[in-house]
């Protein structure tokens, strides 16, 4: 499994990466308490922050990502506005999708965020499409298709491997193996050894990466981005990191998960703590711990401000129901 002991990331870059992870953590852990007063389904990303942050740090602002039902982390890492996201989760007309989308459909094409997706694996072909646009127009953009270990079994995802190889699309398949698809353990449904081996069967290079280790995530992605921009086509990356919360808020008791002690995960496998300790031990050049503490406080404040803004009274005009079905 790919881990990384060295990196040429600068202190500024490390700060940005840590900030991204910190905002995601603050956002998701805040939602954990908030979920029962929110409409809709909320799937939290805590624990997997290093994947979104590491992948997106290796991308340019105009590169694309397509996300999943567990999409808040990807959206934040790709630069979506946290307040607009929070408002969307409240179903407000000033939300990032005007309240039409909700948690499972957060999108912001201006940031290259092609959308969360309610269908397992549903975003993967869309990401291939953005890569096709880039290829046709010679823009040099790359596109990342996120999916889970469970979603990776969807026909549309597996077909996308064939398509990406045949057209040599500049796309990166980022498979987040968090150990479960709802209550089904990855070991039961994830046939084959790993996604790198599965990728090889489709003629695509692949790697398995420690998904708690943001440096390793970034390095693997950067290499895949290099390949994509060089016209060498797709790469498959499997990132391993368990989620700290249940599959969906207010849904599961995690009884299917006897070994997973969220508290243990939070101490032993916290991607933020891991980065902190790498900085502390000096293998990664980063800011002082108190600066990281400030980043955490800022992140909490940012999210709290978003919650406050999203809690302002609002009215939704039922007539807007019919807007945006067609362009005209």
């Amino acid at each position: 499994m790919g881990t990384s002991r060295t990196t040429d990331l600068t202190v500024d870059q490390i700060v940005e990466i840590y900030r991204t992870m910190s905002v995601i953590r603050a956002f998701e852990d805040r939602l954990h308490g908030l979920a029962k007063s929110l409409p809709g389904a909320v799937h939290l990303y805590s624990g997997q922050e290093a994947v979104a942050a590491g992948v997106c740090a290796a991308l340019a602002p105009d590169d694309y990502i397509a996300s999943t039902h567990r999409g808040h982390g990807h959206a934040i890492a790709k630069g979506c506005d946290v307040e607009a996201m929070m408002k969307e989760l409240h179903g407000r007309p000033d939300g990032i999708c005007g309240g039409k989308g909700g948690s499972m459909h957060i999108a912001d094409f201006d940031r290259g965020m092609l959308g969360a997706n309610g269908l397992a694996g549903g975003g993967v072909p869309l990401a291939c499409g953005a890569a096709l646009t880039a290829r046709q127009q010679g823009t040099g953009q790359v596109s990342v298709a996120f999916t889970g270990d469970g979603g990776a079994n969807q026909g549309a995802v597996l077909e996308s491997l064939v398509l990406a190889r045949m057209l040599d699309l500049p796309v990166i398949f980022a498979i987040e193996n968090n150990g479960y698809a709802q209550a089904t353990p990855a070991a039961a449904h994830f046939s084959g050894t790993d996604m790198a081996q599965r990728a090889a069967g489709f003629g695509i290079p692949g790697a398995v990466v420690d998904g708690y280790d943001v440096i390793a995530v970034h390095a693997a992605t950067a290499e895949a981005v290099r390949r994509a921009r060089a016209g060498e086509g797709p790469t498959v990356l499997e990132f391993r990191a368990e989620r700290f919360h249940g599959h969906m808020e207010l849904w599961d008791d995690q009884s299917y998960r006897p070994d997973a002690d969220p508290e243990r995960l939070r101490t032993e496998s916290d991607p933020l703590l891991l980065l902190r300790s790498r900085i502390a031990e000096g293998t990664v050049a980063g800011p002082a711990a108190f600066e990281l503490d400030r980043i955490d406080r800022d992140a909490t404040a940012l999210v709290e401000a978003a919650v406050t803004a999203a809690s302002e009274p609002f009215t939704a005009d039922p007539r807007t129901l019919l807007d945006h079905v067609y362009t005209r």
């Binding site: 309240g99 309610g118 079994n153 026909g155 698809a181 089904t184 019919l322």
Partner: protein, 329 residues
């Protein structure tokens, strides 16, 4: 009669038939960790409740093949919206296999799915979509509106030899109702007159049955008695009960939360306008969801599904109020 919920009623029908018929197997994602109607069934039937990977095309297709070779699979699609990823297996395989084979085989398959608005899940988890399946010959489509019907219709689905799409309205899961403990089956193609009335026939399905009943109360206060009919099975459709009612009332309103175009509402309205035109004393009226995806925003989602006011208004718009006025003069 004891009272149980809609989801318990479905679960009971499954359990009773599984005890009786070893060929019934349940297939679905997380079947052994299910929270809905099938909750706990894996404990009693450990070998016949099968967890599936997220491969709907493969496992729905496999269920078709299994049904044609001796099992009676009951497949959990979760949300009907996900039928889209197994659509070929439903539309081109399950629905047509018997016909293409000249009738030499049958496909006794039950596909279960949650449908409808109300759960604030956005555009890809809130659809109705039954018009798509009703359009397709070879499928049967069932949509119970209460616990009693849910049990009886599921019992029928489990002995029926054709592929049945069994639609469970997600907002009815916790609806309580009187349900006999002993097994019973409700034949397909028999509608239920939920509330008799003389002035206008209102056909409604799923959650819209209670919306129609609420409208009936409003209208009763105005002196208008509507007859509420729940077709229960959408394919086959019991047109004779509907026609009989329209012959008496001379009016028709169809209420359904699906989108309006090429819908069950147009289906019923058009059949009546063709086959019982002479009985109609005013325009047919359709009260449906709009031609728009289902929005996430609770306010907008609530505006999406028809409510009692709209139904009452539609009843009046059949020209009935004028009539009623005439009559009461």
């Amino acid at each position: 009669m004891r009272t149980i919920t809609y989801q318990q009623a479905i679960g009971e029908a499954l359990a009773q038939q599984m005890r009786f018929d070893r060929s019934v197997v349940l297939m679905g994602e997380d079947s052994t960790n299910a929270w809905g109607p099938t909750k706990g069934l894996h404990l009693e039937f450990p070998d016949r409740v099968l967890d599936m990977p997220i491969t709907e095309a493969a496992f729905v297709g496999a269920a078709v093949g299994a049904a044609a070779t001796g099992l009676r699979p009951v497949v959990d699609l979760l949300f009907i919206d996900f039928a889209t990823v197994a659509f070929d297996q439903i539309a081109n395989q399950a629905a047509k296999l018997r016909y293409m084979a000249g009738g030499r085989i049958s496909v006794p398959l039950v596909l279960r799915a949650m449908w409808g608005t109300g759960l604030r899940r956005g555009a890809q988890h809130s659809q109705a979509l039954h018009p798509l399946f009703v359009h397709l010959p070879g499928l049967k489509v069932v949509a119970p509106s209460n616990p009693y019907d849910a049990k009886g219709l599921m019992a029928q689905a489990l002995v029926d030899d054709d592929p049945v799409l069994f639609l469970e309205h997600k907002m009815l899961y916790f609806m309580p109702g009187g349900v006999p403990e002993e097994p019973y089956a409700i034949p397909f193609g028999s509608a239920k007159v939920v509330r008799p009335g003389t002035d206008c026939t209102v056909v409604a399905i799923g959650r819209m049955v209670s919306v129609a009943l609420a409208a009936a109360e409003q209208l009763a206060a105005e002196g208008v008695q509507i007859e509420v009919i729940d077709p229960r099975t959408l394919s086959p459709l019991d047109t004779s009960t509907i026609y009989g009612s329209v012959e008496r009332t001379g009016r028709l309103v169809v209420v359904d939360e699906a989108h309006p175009r090429c819908s069950l509402a147009t289906d019923i309205a058009a059949q009546v306008a063709q086959d019982r035109f002479a009985a109609l004393r005013g325009p047919v009226r359709m009260v449906t969801g709009p031609h728009a995806p289902v929005p996430f925003s609770p306010e907008l989602e609530d505006a999406f599904a028809p409510g009692p006011d709209q139904v009452a208004e539609a009843v009046r718009a059949t020209g009935l109020v004028k009539d009623a006025a005439v009559r009461s003069r």
